[in-house]
Symmetry: C2
Subunit: 359 residues, 2 copies
DNA sequence: GACCAGTACTAGAGCGCTCTAGGTGGTCGA
DNA sequence: TCGACCACCTAGAGCGCTCTAGTACTGGTC
């Protein structure tokens, strides 16, 4: 070998990123002590701490995440699959960041995109040693999710899943749609259509909620094929225009509602005078001043918080309020029952609904 | 210590994730050989390769990304900051994945979200040892970008930046808006307003493109304050309705155009009969059948490809077509001049533009 | 002065990989 | 018969951290 350097002196490449070793030499202390200081762990005097931090700052030292993760017993990493460009996913992840921080965890993102499916995204998360998985409205089969959940603690958000070991945090979709129908009936509507979500995860529940709500009020269900995008809503609107309009429509989600609204308005239908429209999600879209959509809100922040709490609980074997028994990842396939949390939705009444014409 | 185990035998925790060592023992070969096989590196016979892979598969072995990154001389990692929920960013990242794959690199994402600013996102990328940085329409100051670019190869997408060492890949925004104006003038419009992007990165260029295009045609500029969101477009529409409408509007982007469109249509203005509207980006939004927006398209895929090629070139010191001199990260602050690539936009004519009424 | 507890610090063994240098056995030309 | 050479494989030293075990030094207590 041309040249091997012992720990205490190495080739002085000024462009190498500084390591613990560099800081330690410069500050005249051991690597271990620098580690203690930068981690903020107890065991260093205030004066040393200050000096080491000053040197670290001066050298522009930043700990290498990979080395740290490798050396640490615990990764304290939670992996999330996120569908880029989707407003709901964005809201969820935004809620996840403060939540993981509270528990001393870090978040690692893996995107699903055209050409990069969910399986691929999850594999990346496993490779990065995630201790827990958060799947936002995944489209994987229940059996696939069950297999995954046997490997490590897994939480599914915003989708109903019946699989062992999978924690679920979702909104009571049926109740939400029920609230929308109740609201419309309360305004005097008797002819209420539902533009559904087809085969999408939550579509079944929302359809059921709609059906039982209208029946409860002695009305006939009026189902229309829809989907999750504006395009689906637009298609449904054309369908309804051909059939003859109801006085109110409950849509699968906000995007669908917006597509429907747009086609109706362009055709000269007045909203809410001629027809009332309700969305689902209370996304940014619904809040736009000119859209001003009555919609059913999901408490995304709370969903994020609960999913993290649930996973951390399963991983640590205790909640941070009780830091008595944190003995490393406690996940064992034989683990206890897993919780399904169903959050109540809340109707947000805005300007797209009113009493029907002639009342 | 209660018990330390040498490399060749360790506590048989069946829930530990399998390592190279486990595969090696099971297959009766050395760790180094397993490493060679799983990396697909040359130096193993076909039969051994098959046997090792079979064992790896049987144990469910997956290489630990952190260990791999730590041990490898080169990280071959490109970091991207991505604004979650933004369609343009989503398109860019979707284009980035196949591009990095072609060059044998991996992508690491870091999100900007409410409560998590760009600086934080970039720091995470540095901690993860990214060899290059891709910033999509960053809002950092040019000086900040320059400082960053001195640390490691940095590419900025979709924003004009004048900073040493920063590679820039962007669309000729002024040309794009010019094409839109030319199109409208060609249809016979003489009164063309521009809803601008305020202080946003590309807004200046688009404003300039608008101004010089209308002047070229001997018309007067009609600037209106806008922004990047639907809300901004809606506000601009109300403003225009108060002023008296032009016969055509060129908007800062598609979202802005959609907001504007919506308010106009709700007011009873017919598009394109009463007014023509042009957007910018050719996003999914513009393609929706009921929106059907004439817009200026950016070649996002090509931007992604070019940014990656540029970074890889600077990092490797050579392009993959010429794998002669790959001698590790070659980035030195003294490095040569850095390229700015300006791609031509292309006008996509759809249904939101037509000849003005009375012609 | 011996003993103890506590604080401040260090040595050194890993974490799971990669990669260089070197070992082994077989084939082949001289 | 002998090296030269190749194909295949192994040993072992890191990568930059964390963390356990242990050392040195202080000050109080009987």
């Amino acid at each position: 070998m041309a040249d091997t350097f012992p720990r205490t002196s190495r080739p002085a490449d000024p462009f190498r990123r500084p390591t613990l070793q560099d800081v330690a030499e410069r500050a005249g202390v051991s690597r271990a002590l620098v580690s203690i200081v930068v981690r903020g762990a107890p065991g260093a005097s205030a004066s040393t701490r200050a000096r080491v931090l000053a040197v670290a700052d001066e050298l522009g030292y930043r700990p290498d995440a990979h080395a740290r993760l490798l050396a640490r017993q615990r990764a304290r990493l939670l992996g999330v699959t996120v569908q880029l460009g989707h407003p709901f996913h964005a809201d969820v992840v935004a809620g996840l960041y403060p939540a993981v921080e509270r528990y001393g965890y870090e978040l690692v993102l893996s995107a699903t995109a055209p050409g990069r499916d969910e399986r691929r995204a999850v594999e990346t998360l496993l490779d990065y040693r995630s201790e827990g998985l958060i799947l936002v409205a995944p489209d994987a089969a229940e059996t696939t999710l069950a297999v995954l959940a046997r490997r490590l603690p897994t939480a599914v958000l915003a989708r109903r899943v019946q699989a062992e070991q999978v924690s679920v945090v979702r909104t009571a979709d049926d109740v939400g749609v029920g609230q929308a129908v109740d609201h419309l009936v309360g305004l005097g509507h008797r002819s209420i259509a539902h533009v559904d979500g087809g085969a999408l995860p939550a579509a079944e529940d929302r359809r059921d909620g709609y059906r039982s709500a209208v029946r409860r009020h002695g009305l006939d269900p009026w189902p229309v094929a829809g989907g999750q995008s504006e395009e689906d809503g637009a298609r449904a609107a054309r369908e309804l225009l051909a059939q003859g309009l109801p006085t109110a429509v409950v849509c699968f989600n906000d995007r669908c509602a917006v597509g429907l609204l747009d086609v109706l308005i362009r055709t000269g239908v007045r909203v809410p005078d001629d027809i009332s429209v309700v969305g689902f999600d209370d996304s940014q879209l619904a809040r736009l001043s000119h859209i001003n959509l009555t919609t059913v809100g999901q408490d995304v922040e709370r969903m994020a918080e609960l999913a993290v709490a649930e996973l951390v609980d399963r991983i640590d074997g205790c909640l941070p309020e009780n830091p008595a028994a944190p003995t490393g990842p406690a996940h064992r396939p034989a683990g206890g029952p897993v919780r399904e949390t169903v959050l109540p939705p809340r109707l947000v009444v805005r300007g797209s609904t009113s009493r029907p014409a002639g009342r």
